[in-house]
């Protein structure tokens, strides 16, 4: 095979690879760029208001949210998790969302507990009759574990749920 033939074959293979990639790739895929670029600072404030103030002042927080986003999307679905006797009712489940969605999680517990979401680093406190409420924009992609600090300290399985954030 001559040198030119070799080069032609490599070029052909690269073209085939590129075309196959474009064809195989799901159509609505806009790459990770925009979602990954969203400023972490935004996530922080978002999640802090979501996790820490909502537990006490639920209404005020909603107003704040609407101020920040002129055209609010329809209210996101709330995931409810119940912990009784240190165990998650129905076992720890995956919460599946897409990157950029607003996530709402409410954890009720029959004893005082601290619920921590890794990666996003949000902690909420729960007590009987006072659930821990989480509300934040899922800007980080990947799988993140939500754990109970009380169960972890007691040497039990601390997993409350897993948040799975897929790219859009």
């Amino acid at each position: 095979m001559s040198r030119n033939q070799r080069i032609a074959l490599v070029v052909a293979a690269v073209v085939v690879a590129a075309v196959a990639f474009v064809v195989a790739q799901p159509g609505d895929d806009e790459d990770a760029g925009p979602t990954a670029d969203t400023t972490p600072a935004q996530t922080q404030t978002d999640s802090e208001t979501g996790a820490q103030t909502e537990g006490e002042t639920g209404g005020a927080d909603t107003e704040e949210q609407t101020e920040q986003q002129p055209a609010p999307p329809p209210e996101p679905e709330v995931t409810r998790i119940r912990i009784t006797g240190g165990e998650v009712a129905g076992g720890a489940k995956d919460i599946r969302v897409e990157s950029g969605e607003v996530v709402r999680i409410v954890v009720t517990a029959d004893a005082a507990d601290e619920i921590h979401l890794h990666g996003y680093d949000i902690t909420g406190t729960a007590a009987p009759g006072r659930p821990a409420r989480f509300r934040f924009r899922a800007n980080l992609e990947g799988a993140f574990e939500m754990e109970s600090h009380v169960a972890a300290d007691a040497g039990l399985d601390p997993l409350v749920a897993r948040l799975v954030v897929a790219p859009t």
Partner: protein, 456 residues
């Protein structure tokens, strides 16, 4: 890194989607056959070609002052690892030692070696101490030291294979393997063993064959274009360093340990392993072991099983290659092609631990400021946090696939070049390549499959 994944990491990866898996697998096949057709018809990598860095830079970089400085840094870091592990907090995430050993030392040195050559050799604390002691002893006794024993040929790379296996057991099997104290004690024990072996066989010969991390990082650095020769840093063709590797007894086992341990780590979070693990653990528990010991023994069985499978699969390819003729023994062929497994092993490590290094590696910023976890702030970075937005899921997937395919291409190229050098007959060389190609495609498909299994 099972334990680490649960202990240290706040974020875990998503499995590659089906369409990307399919595309990548197809690409592996396309690349393989294109490579067969277009790769050079004469061996090229076997030829020596090395040039020193221009302007005396090569001599300065490998010079005595730089060597002493690097060695001192290495010894200092080993000291910090042991001190922080023993004296610091025993929470794996808040102590400097586990993250430094499992992420910075074990993982960050991989890309560094790939780019800049055998950097670990300069920083190797055991080598530095061994050489310093030898120099001091020579000064004091004012006579020649007794010559060390000659390194037994039968040992080959076996001590290194055993060392890397022990590290994998510590990392993946022992349930308290990421506890700072245990890491520090392991470092002490390993240091003691290394010094004894160096005293017996000499510093340089133990470093070249027996010391596990020296051998491991040297293998990886052979992919790099940077090589130090006779005290001068210079450049060579990429991959040529691997062609120059002299396989000894135990080299195949070492590569099987390297690939097998990553395979097991990847598979241990997948449904296949989590399906059978409880059964094996139940068997050991019935035999009277505590649940924790039963689980550890189960993981040990899994780890050894993965290593043996990798070993057997490679041997299968070698037996196949032997069947085409040429009159080589399987042992000879196994050693002749083992260097082509190195890029595959590196691709496994690079893809599998990419995000661990990228995200958990950031925590060294706050751990360095507060190594003991007692609230100190040595460099003012104790409050820094991990930025998980560094690499999105899509970008992660593309990096994985890119690394795996690149490793595959490098492996094919090496095997092809070696076949041309080994067989006089070009036809035999090509026919032996079908077998090696099948082995490579198998390993690469396994790597892709593991990446489609994470957390699924």
């Amino acid at each position: 890194m099972t334990l680490i994944a649960h202990g240290l990491v706040g974020r875990s990866d998503l499995p590659i989607p089906e369409w990307l898996f399919g595309w990548a697998a197809a690409m592996v096949l396309v690349v393989s056959f294109v490579a067969l057709a277009v790769l050079w018809p004469e061996p090229r990598l076997e030829r020596e070609r090395w040039r020193p860095l221009p302007g005396g830079l090569g001599r300065v970089l490998a010079g005595r002052p730089v060597q002493i400085a690097c060695g001192a840094i290495g010894v200092f870091l080993l000291g910090v690892v042991i001190y922080a592990g023993l004296r610091g907090t025993q929470s794996p995430t808040a102590n400097f030692t586990p993250t430094f050993v499992y992420v910075i030392f074990w993982l960050a040195l991989v890309p560094v070696s790939l780019l800049f050559g055998d950097v670990f050799r300069a920083f190797n604390p055991w080598r530095a101490i061994g050489r310093a002691v030898g120099w001091l002893a020579g000064r004091i006794s004012r006579s020649d030291l007794p010559a060390p024993l000659s390194y037994p040929a039968g040992f080959g790379h076996w001590p290194a294979a055993a060392g890397i296996f022990a590290f994998a057991v510590m990392e993946l099997v022992v349930s308290d393997g990421d506890k700072p104290e245990n890491v520090a004690i392991a470092a002490l024990v390993y240091s003691a063993l290394t010094f004894v072996a160096m005293a017996l066989y000499g510093v340089e010969s133990w470093i070249a064959r027996g010391e596990a991390f020296s051998v491991y990082f040297n293998l990886i650095s052979r992919l790099s274009p940077v090589e130090t020769r006779d005290g001068v840093v210079g450049l060579r063709r990429p991959l040529a360093g691997l062609a120059a590797l002299e396989p000894v007894s135990g080299t195949v086992a070492l590569l099987a340990v390297m690939i097998g341990s990553v395979t097991f780590d990847g598979a241990s979070v997948g449904s296949l392993w989590t399906g059978i693990a409880p059964d094996i653990a139940g068997f050991f528990a019935d035999a009277g072991l505590s649940p924790q010991r039963a689980l550890e023994l189960t993981f040990l069985v899994g780890l050894i099983g993965a290593i043996l499978l990798v070993y057997a699969f490679y041997q299968l390819g070698v037996v196949g290659a032997r069947s085409v003729g040429g009159g080589f023994s399987t042992g000879r062929l196994a050693r002749a092609f083992v260097h082509s497994l190195v890029p595959i092993a590196v691709a496994y490590v690079a893809a599998h631990y990419l995000t661990l290094l990228l995200f958990q590696g950031q925590s060294i910023a706050f751990l360095a400021s507060d190594p003991l976890g007692d609230g100190s702030d040595l460099f003012g970075t104790a409050d820094s946090q991990i930025d998980y937005s560094l690499l999105g899921a899509n970008a992660t997937w593309y990096c994985w696939v890119g690394l795996v395919v690149a490793g595959h291409v490098a492996a094919l190229t090496l095997a092809h070049d070696r076949a041309l050098a080994l067989y006089d007959d070009a036809k035999l060389a090509v026919r032996s390549q079908y077998w090696m190609l099948a082995v490579m495609v198998g390993f690469t498909s396994l790597a892709l499959w593991l990446l489609s299994q994470v957390n699924s």
